[in-house]
Structures are given as C-alpha cells and as structure tokens.
C-alpha cells in the first residue's frame, strides 16, 4: 500500500487498500456510455512473438467497457498483418488494425509528405499520432487510453485505473498518466530515476521556479508510456516522433490545459517491459539516443517559454546535474537496501556518466540548432490543409480490415 501524500501541482491518485476491480469496471461501463473509450495500442510485429502480447490479449478479452481498440502495427508484412488479426480475434471489442506497411496506409503517409507535413520517422510517436487521427476520424469515442504492448506484468486493472479519472465526468480530468515502480530483483527505470528527475531539479536550481519544470517534477514517472486523455486534447496536441514523445506530450498538455485538470494514477504494484541497452559509446542508439532526445525536448520547451540558454548555463547544468544524480544514487541505494533489492552502485554511476555525456551532446545539438526537436503537427492543422484526410485515413484502415 502506498502513502497518500499529494506532491507537486497535479493530482496524484494513489492505490489505497485493495480497491475492487469489479466495482471499478462496473462504474467504467456506466461512465463509458456517456464517454466512449478507445484504446490505442502501438505495437511491432515482433511483440506478438514475445511473451507479453498473449497475456495482454487474454486480459483485454475480459474488458467490457471499451468502445473500440485501435492497434497500430509496425514492421509487419501482409501475411503477418493477417496473423495479428487472427491473434486479436479472442477480443470481443471492435478492433481496427492500422497496418503501417500496407499499401493504403503508406499512401496516406505519402499524402502527408507531399503536403509539407513532416510526420517523422517510423516509431511509436508517429504510430500513436496516426492512431489518434483514426479515432478522431471515426468520431465514436470521447476518451483515448494508450499503453505499450510489451508489458509482461499486464493486468486489466492497469487499464481500468488508467481510464477511470478521465472517463468519470464528475472528476473532470482531461489527462491522466500512469505511474508505477519498476523493480525485479533490482531497480529498473534508470532514465527516469537517474536522468529526468535530477535534470529537472538541476534546471530548477539554475533557472529558478518555473511552471513547466514544476509540472514535470510533479510526475512520479514522467516517462511512463501509459496515459489516458480526452479526444479534444488528442486533436490539439503536437507530439514529437522521437524518444522525446513522453516529455513532449507533457509539455503540450501543460501548454494547453491547467494542471488542475491533469492527474497521475498508480496503475500497477510492479511493472516490467522490454529493457533498452545503455550503449554508452554510441549516442545514436539505445538509452543514449533516448537521453539526447529527452534533453532536447526539455530544452526546446523551456526555450519556447522564454528561458534563455547560454554556454555558461549549460556548463553549470552539467556540474549541477552530476551532483544531483550522485545524491540520487545514494537515496536509491538506501531504498534498495531496506527493501532487500540488489543495487550495483558502480553500474548506476556508469549510467550517470553516460547520461552526463548525453546531456552534453544534447546541449551542443541544441545550441547549434534549437529547432531540432521534431514535432508532428496537430490534427487541426492537418485537416485544415488536407480537408479530406480523415475520410481517406478511415477508408484506408477500414479497407485493410475487411
């Protein structure tokens, strides 16, 4: 059982006691009549061959309150697309699969390109953005929930708790992010623990009180890939297509809505998914690439809100971050000790060194070109430039699913 402390400027919804899943789901079924829910699942074909997806399908088959499921399938041939359709068949909710490599959806991407829209490279950001577009095109759902497809510890309680704050009209939240601890025999989630939180606190130390930094610091797991929001928000939000997706999305939520309408919810006692390698020597892949993208996204957001970055500030930031991260390692060491978890202090220190290097790369890239962080335009702008895009997207997906 967690504590019930409210920290930061957003609301935190804790898991207190053992709330009944049946009660939660029955309430959701009632609320979803007024606010239908679409579940978006960004996935790769390889995830259907892994251990997580069978469990997710088995759990989703028991969920009754969803209005539709939109699965965006990447890196799949035509044959694999049909296999996935077969794989998803035990679920009774209406499922639409967006086949990213299919002829029709590829043509949709070409339509964006020839009309001057840079929707980025293949990845979760682009897939999620297209799924939002499809949900908006159908106009059958008012709420969009999203989670990854590599969650090994998936249970339908995760989905129910994620949806509840937004679907319940009495609570009036427009955005809800999931949080959880990530432990196996040791502590995981290095990027959040050792990069984002120390970096945000260092920036606060250097820049002083700042709304966005306070907002970001309020999230217990700002990089979690599980969130739920209203379709209005999905329409106006611009999202990055690179690893800055999570932080960039939070920046857009902060820009468009008051923090009073944003919450985070404890969705799982423990969470495990695919782990990224650190790749400390190569900044173009693994956690290093992720780190560079996240830092660029944070810098760009702050710059867009009037923060002036200079060489001196960045130099101080590196030193300040290192100190913050080292202090954080000590805190987590104590936390691991009391909970009987393994804690490799050297490995954690190596990660911090790699992250420091990545921050230095990100600062250099940012100083050379502050506009580098790619943001996919929001759907309002796309429909304004290509008025028939929703009909075309809907037709492409529906034809693929016939």
């Amino acid at each position: 059982m967690s504590d019930f402390y409210q920290n930061g400027i957003i609301t935190t919804l804790h898991q207190l006691g053992k709330p009944s899943l049946e009660r939660l789901e029955s309430e959701l079924l009632g609320f979803s009549k007024a606010r239908p829910i679409a579940l978006v699942l960004p996935s790769l074909y390889s995830e259907f061959e892994g251990p997580a997806m069978p469990g997710i399908v088995q759990e989703l088959a028991k969920v009754k309150y969803l209005n539709e499921i939109v699965l965006v399938l990447d890196k799949a041939s035509e044959k694999e697309f049909h296999k996935v359709r077969e794989f998803m068949s035990p679920i009774s909710t209406e499922i639409k699969i967006i086949h990213n490599d299919g002829k029709r959806v590829s043509e949709i991407y070409q339509t964006f390109a020839r009309n001057g829209f840079n929707v980025g490279e293949r990845g979760k950001g682009r897939s999620v953005w297209l799924a939002y577009g499809y949900v908006l095109a159908r106009g059958r759902s008012d709420v969009i929930a999203l989670h990854d497809c590599d969650i090994v510890t998936y249970s339908r309680e995760l989905l129910a708790r994620l949806c509840y704050p937004v679907v319940n009209q009495n609570l009036d939240y427009v955005f809800c992010k999931g949080y959880y601890s990530r432990i196996s025999s040791k502590m995981n989630g290095r990027v959040t623990r050792l990069l984002v939180t120390p970096l945000v606190r260092s920036l606060q130390q250097l820049i002083g009180p700042h709304d966005f930094l306070a907002f970001l610091d309020s999230f217990r797991y700002p990089l979690s890939g599980e969130f739920c929001m209203t379709t209005d928000l999905a329409r106006v939000n611009r999202i990055p297509w690179d690893w800055g997706l999570e932080v960039g999305s939070l920046a857009e939520v902060h820009r468009n809505y008051s923090p009073r309408r944003v919450c985070q919810v404890d969705i799982a006692a423990n969470y495990d998914h695919k782990h990224q390698v650190l790749s400390a020597d190569d900044a173009s892949k693994g956690l290093m690439k992720m780190t560079v993208d996240i830092c660029k996204s944070i810098f760009r957001t702050l710059a867009s809100e009037g923060v002036v970055f200079s060489d001196g500030l960045f130099k101080s930031l590196l030193v300040s971050y290192l100190r913050q991260a080292e202090d954080t390692i000590m805190k987590y060491e104590a936390d691991a000790a009391i909970n009987g978890l393994q804690f490799d202090r050297h490995e954690e220190a190596m990660a911090v060194e790699a992250f420091t290097k990545a921050i230095a790369i990100a600062t250099r890239v940012f100083m050379e070109n502050p506009m580098t962080t790619p943001l996919i335009p929001n759907w309002n702008r796309v429909t304004s430039a290509i008025p028939g895009i929703f009909e075309m997207l809907q037709k492409a997906v529906d034809e693929d699913n016939k």
Binding site: E107, Q110, T111, N115, A385, P387, G388
Partner: protein, 234 residues
C-alpha cells in the same frame, strides 16, 4: 477441265488482289499503332513530370479529388491515375486511327461515330470537374453561413446541399453522354420534384404554428405602434 480450274483459281486470284490492296493498309495500321503507343508512353511520362512540377497531387488532396479516388478504393497518386487515363485515351485513339487505316467500310463507320462522340465526352468531363469544384464551394459556403447563424444542423445541411448538387451534376453528365437521356430526365425530375414537395409539405405543415406566431407578432407590433403616439402635436 479448264473451266473447273478457272473456277478454283478465280476466287483465289481475287483474294490475292484484295490481299495485295489490304497489306499496305495493314502495314499502315501497324505503323500507326507502333507510333501511337510510343507517343502515348512519351506523353504519359512528360505529363506526369509536368503534374509533379506543378504539385498536382497536393492540389488534388486539397480540392478533394484524392478523396473521391480513395472512396473508390483507388490508392495510386492522382498524377499517376491521370497519366494512366491519358495514356489509355491515347491508346484508344491510336487504335481507332489504326483501324481507320484498314479502310473497311463497317469499321470506318464505327470510327467516325467514335470521333463524333469525343466532344461530348470532353464536355462531360469538364462538367464533372467544374461541377465538383462548384458543389464543394457552395457546400462550404452553406456550412460557414449556417454555422455562423447558429444553425444546429449546419453540417447536415451542407452535406445535403452537396449531395443534391452532385445528383444534378451526374444527371447533366448522363444527359451530355446521351446515356438513356429520357430516363435520366424523368428520374431527375421525379427525384428533385419529390424533394421539393417533401420540403414544402414539411415546412408547410410543421411551420403553421411558427408562421402564425410571426404574423401575430408582426400585427401586434403594428397595432402598438399605431396606438403609442397619444400626444397631440402642434
């Protein structure tokens, strides 16, 4: 015996003479076909490059032509589709010219009928393009006006206007192409007349009370205006 041989040879001779006359025509047809196909391929390629240079695909996306193609489950680029249409039109023209070179009376008649039909075909295509753009413009104008006036069903009204205009354009096209003109005219008159009568009845019956209220209100305002000025002016 000689007569019998003549009887066999005469038709063969005649066939040979006819063949001698026909061979140059056949060769002419083959040459026309070859040059025509080659020209069609070149024109298609040049046209597609030109369309790419003027951003035709992007223009089609904005104008809604791409949407129409996708509705018909056609997923090529609009420029490729237009290139392909022009290519096959040129192939048909080439084929007709080639057949004409054969100088066979029955085919000649068919070819002249085909060529006399071409202007109708082009004017039908023009009606389709201009009509589609016009209907889109009108529908958008209706949507904006109705939405700005606070009309609750603005989108529905705009879509209804769009659909009616499309029906009108299709009827005009069918009439232009001379495809069952009398049936098209009758069907169009019945549908349009029916809609107008339905609307007249709906407004007439449904709006009796509203009309009465408006008239009574008008009359009351008039009476009030007449009785208001009680001061005697000097």
């Amino acid at each position: 015996m000689e007569n019998f041989i003549n009887l066999i040879l005469e038709p063969l001779k005649e066939l040979f003479l006819k063949f001698k006359v026909f061979v140059p025509n056949l060769l002419a047809m083959l040459v026309i076909l070859f040059i025509g196909i080659l020209l069609a391929l070149i024109i298609k390629r040049v046209l597609m490059r030109f369309l790419a240079a003027i951003n035709f695909d992007s223009w089609s996306d904005r104008m809604g032509f791409t949407k129409i193609m996708r509705k018909g489950d056609m997923w090529n680029k609009p420029s490729s589709t237009l290139g392909l249409i022009v290519f096959w039109l040129l192939i048909v023209l080439t084929l007709m010219s080639g057949l004409n070179a054969l100088q066979i009376p029955a085919i000649d008649q068919l070819v002249s009928q085909f060529f006399s039909y071409i202007p109708r075909f082009f004017s039908a295509a023009m009606i389709l393009i201009v009509g589609y753009l016009f209907s889109g413009f009108i529908s958008r104008a209706v949507l904006i006006t109705a939405a700005n006036s606070g009309f609750h069903y603005a989108k529905l009204l705009a879509e209804a206007v769009h659909t009616l205009l499309i029906v009108l354009i299709l009827a005009m096209i069918m009439e232009q192409l001379q495809i069952a003109p009398s049936i098209v005219l009758a069907a169009f008159s019945i549908i349009f007349g029916g809609i107008v009568i339905a609307l007249a009845i709906a407004f007439g019956v449904g709006g009796i009370d509203a009309a009465r209220r408006i008239i009574e209100k008008e009359a009351m305002t008039k009476r009030e205006d007449e009785t208001k000025d009680e001061i005697e002016h000097i």
